[in-house]
């Protein structure tokens, strides 16, 4: 007989980031009982780390005049490279202004419009008008026609999460932190809640609910180097995948940022290159002009990232204990400039690498940044495949971002989706009974107990969790990164399959008792490798380039064959995901040119091919 604690509630929300908390608030507003689970106290969730801002077409600042949901919608669809569902993008763009204003009402100290004339860094003169003074202002972000990104200095995520959590506290919503969901309870048709492991005591708990919401954030940590928090391991996604009936959407769509600092992966903003920083290779050669004679270091994010990896692959990376990297050089900008205009960068360099960018080179490497894919849901946030299961935020593929997310659209998504999906969750829950057979609960808990006992006894093998994990991370970094091609992706799939088999034979070196961190990692690893396989195998099969998915061997977007979304299923006992496809919803804006110049993957690929030709001829 298993020993575990049981909790019953109306709505179970797994994840206390912005998406999870906003959903919980909405459900609680409808009079429902809600329990939120989280690995960490809510305010430590990754959402807190976002600095830039949140998009909403308020049109209050000079460079935002005339903005409206139509333009926001259009930017979002173009940004997605026509990979998003347009009905979702429309709902999103229409709701974002309400979301931002409600956050203001709840307490976010958004920066406000200050009237007057200003000169922009590029010399343009603008004037903020008196009539808008004191309203919420916005800053410029890539890929938007208007300045639309609302912000609070450099702490947008922090203020949003703290404000959101203050409402959760005020409403008395139950939060169980240091509580990790490790399996969903379901019968192949309905979802009834989750089995969780307490990260204080190691005890198992069963949470029974009329509806369950996955809000566990992204999977950045599948990659060896990521700007994400170390808890972003995609666990909600692999819990859903493990049911065998819930698919993940577009897992091959992974966003990279060119300059994550080595080894920690902390972001060095584009400002460094904007102000005149160079990228150098191991011979201290400035290589970007060789590839992109016009734009050099200031080509778009995905182009620069691709060039850096290409150069490293040719053997020009700087070898280090953490693998090859390149250098970012801002020394020539001078101490004065660095310590005033680029103070943030100087601080990061000092705190996290102990270097002084006025005299030292900064080690950088393109770094995983955002996961567009996730638990596939319909426009109501209801997951495909299981009644009573929902998903929101970065863990979900709602699908607003398609193959490329615009900066500022993910914070907006967490809150807008929280509002919309929260309401749908409430409607569903009010009409649903909780008739979960207790035998089913017992079975699910028992299965987890067995997994834990196997790991502790080492009955199935002695494989080392940290070693396998490292190999998985390296495989994704090396073969499923920014540039992709058939042979490399095939290598990745083969390697990941081998790792997957080995991950079923893990054995612990510690006792695995109580809150054992090694046990926690071992419980997650097979699921993480499954996600890795969904990414690699999805990418191998998608023979085109779209948004962040750039195939060297298929450099163009192919709307004839690929205007569709990948759905990855994991049938019981499988060693590879089963891929299916569905069309994307086009309602208003037919596929066309993104108009990004070089930042469009397709265009970038075209220029790449042209360069290669030039190279051959010359």
């Amino acid at each position: 007989m298993s020993v575990y604690q049981t909790h019953t509630t109306d709505v179970l929300v797994i994840g206390a980031g912005l998406a999870g908390e906003r959903t919980a608030i909405e459900a609680a507003t409808h009079g429902l009982d809600v329990i939120i689970l989280s690995l960490v106290p809510p305010r430590r969730s990754h959402s807190t780390a976002a600095q830039g801002g949140m998009q909403a077409s308020l049109g209050n600042c000079a460079m935002g005049y005339g903005d409206n949901p139509d333009i926001h919608f259009e930017d979002t669809v173009k940004g997605s490279d026509w990979g998003c569902d347009q009905d979702v993008a429309r709902l999103f763009a229409n709701t974002a202004p309400i979301a931002v204003r409600q956050m203001a009402y709840w307490g976010v100290p958004w920066n406000r419009v200050v009237a007057g004339r200003k000169t922009l860094p590029d010399g343009r003169e603008i004037e903020d008008l008196k009539e808008y003074e004191g309203l919420i202002t916005a800053r410029d972000f890539g890929g938007t026609a208007k300045w639309r990104t609302c912000y609070t200095s450099d702490g947008t995520g922090h203020t949003l999460q703290y404000t959101m959590d203050s409402i959760v506290i005020k409403m008395g919503i139950t939060v169980h932190d240091r509580m990790e969901a490790i399996a969903l309870i379901h019968d192949g048709e309905n979802c009834y809640g989750a089995v969780a492991r307490c990260l204080r005591t190691g005890q198992l708990h069963a949470y029974l609910a009329r509806s369950t919401v996955i809000a566990t954030g992204g999977y950045g940590r599948l990659y060896g180097v990521s700007t994400n928090a170390v808890i972003n391991e995609g666990s909600g996604m692999f819990l859903a995948l493990e049911t065998g009936v819930v698919p993940l959407g577009n897992m091959e769509a992974v966003q990279f940022h060119p300059t994550g600092m080595v080894p920690v992966g902390i972001l060095i903003t584009e400002g460094a290159r904007g102000d005149g920083g160079y990228l150098l290779d191991k011979n201290l050669h400035r290589f970007m002009p060789d590839y992109e004679p016009k734009k050099k270091e200031l080509a778009s994010r995905d182009v620069v990232s691709r060039r850096m990896i290409q150069h490293i692959r040719k053997g020009y990376g700087v070898e280090s204990k953490w693998g090859p990297h390149l250098w970012l050089d801002i020394r020539h900008l001078g101490r004065k400039h660095i310590y005033t205009n680029l103070r943030e960068i100087a601080n990061i360099c000092k705190n996290f690498a102990g270097i002084d960018p006025a005299k030292d080179l900064i080690p950088v490497r393109p770094t995983q940044h955002y996961s567009m894919g996730g638990v596939r849901t319909n426009i109501d946030g209801h997951a495909y495949g299981l009644k009573g299961l929902f998903a929101v935020g970065e863990a979900a593929c709602w699908d607003l971002h398609g193959f490329n997310r615009l900066g500022g659209n993910s914070l907006a998504e967490t809150i807008v989706a929280g509002m919309v999906v929260g309401k749908k969750v409430a409607e569903y829950t009010l009409g649903a009974a909780l008739d979960c057979p207790l035998k089913l609960v017992d079975e699910h808990v028992k299965r987890q107990e067995n997994r834990i006992n196997d790991l502790i006894s080492g009955r199935l093998g002695k494989e080392n969790v940290y070693e396998l994990r490292k190999q998985m991370e390296d495989t994704l970094m090396e073969y499923v990164g920014i540039f992709r091609n058939g042979p490399d992706l095939q290598k990745a799939v083969d390697k990941l399959q081998e790792l997957y088999r080995r991950s079923l034979r893990l054995g612990l070196r510690s006792s695995g008792k109580y809150a054992s961190p090694e046990l926690a990692s071992a419980l997650r690893l097979p699921g993480m490798i499954r996600l890795a396989l969904c990414i690699a195998y999805g990418a191998l099969n998608r023979t085109e380039s779209r948004g962040s998915h750039a195939r060297e061997d298929y450099p163009y977007r192919d709307d004839v064959n690929w205007l569709k979304r990948t759905l990855a299923y994991w049938p019981p006992g499988a060693e590879l995901p089963l891929l299916k496809y569905e069309p994307v919803k086009i309602t208003e804006l037919p596929p066309g040119d993104r108009g990004y110049g070089e930042s469009s993957a397709a265009n970038a690929a075209r220029t790449e091919t042209a360069h290669d030709k030039e190279g051959n001829n010359g």
Binding site: V40, H46, A49, L135, S166, A229, S510, A515
Partner: protein
């Protein structure tokens, strides 16, 4: 750069096994360029001792998870470079907070309790109107609120505070700073009297004995003593204003 051999002396204790008394355990590790305690502790766990417990989330000095006593001082471990430390490094969990195990402490429960106690949310009688434009606010005011809201709840100020170490219910510098954040916010309709009830006690502003360790230890560089002075001034004013009323009844 000459590489050193570092010796880590780390506090070990698991509250689930009280029969094993707390002890210090030593680990040796070769220093690497740019090594932070985040990198070092993960290396120790992955290569030497997978049972070691500690907390990191953002590893970028944003989330406040990783505070511990580094050679006796409350610090964020993720932004502490080994090269700034002697080759012998002692790591202990933060005091005051409940121990989860080894270097991991339960700051979450403490801060949630503090938020409840100070009712750290906007108190307003206004309703939200989804159709209406947002209320205006002066940008200076917005920036002022943000300045007070930059606390990441790491607990360094609490751990270094003499009062918090002896008085369990003291809300500490973090709590007082939180109250100040809502006091400067025009959206919060609480009167000085109402704040007085929250912080005008020994558990609040009057518990502080002014040793200033909070401000020295704050990794965000928050002006905690100034916030204390601000709240005290407002409290004093509220106290004076309250007197005639008390006499009247």
């Amino acid at each position: 750069m000459a590489e050193r051999l570092l010796t880590f002396s780390i506090f070990r204790y698991n509250p689930n096994t009280p029969e094993i008394k707390p002890y210090m355990q030593e680990y040796k590790l070769e220093e690497m360029p740019g090594m932070t305690l985040f990198v070092a502790l993960n290396k120790i766990r992955e290569e030497q001792d997978p049972s070691l417990m500690f907390d990191f989330v953002c590893r970028a000095a944003i989330c406040g998870s990783c505070a511990m006593l580094v050679n006796g001082k409350p610090r964020l471990a993720c932004k502490t470079l080994t090269k700034d430390l002697p080759s012998r490094i002692t790591l202990l969990p933060l005091p005051v907070f409940k121990l989860v195990g080894d270097l991991s402490v339960d700051t979450g429960t403490w801060f949630r309790h503090m938020s409840l106690k100070t009712e750290a949310w906007i108190h307003t009688t206004k309703e939200f109107d989804p159709q209406a434009r947002e209320e205006r606010m002066d940008n200076e005011t917005a920036l002022k609120i943000y300045e007070a809201e930059r606390c990441i709840e790491c607990g360094c100020c609490i751990a270094g505070c003499a009062t918090a170490n002896i008085r369990e219910d003291f809300i500490g510098a973090a709590g007082i700073n939180r109250v100040a954040r809502f006091m400067v916010d025009p959206r919060d309709e609480r009167s000085p009297q109402e704040y007085f009830e929250v912080v005008g006690t020994e558990e609040g502003t009057f518990g502080c004995v002014g040793l200033m360790a909070c401000e020295d230890n704050c990794p965000m560089g928050l002006p905690l003593q100034m916030q204390l002075a601000y709240v005290r001034r407002r409290m004093a004013a509220a106290g004076l204003a309250a007197r005639p009323q008390t006499r009247a009844c």
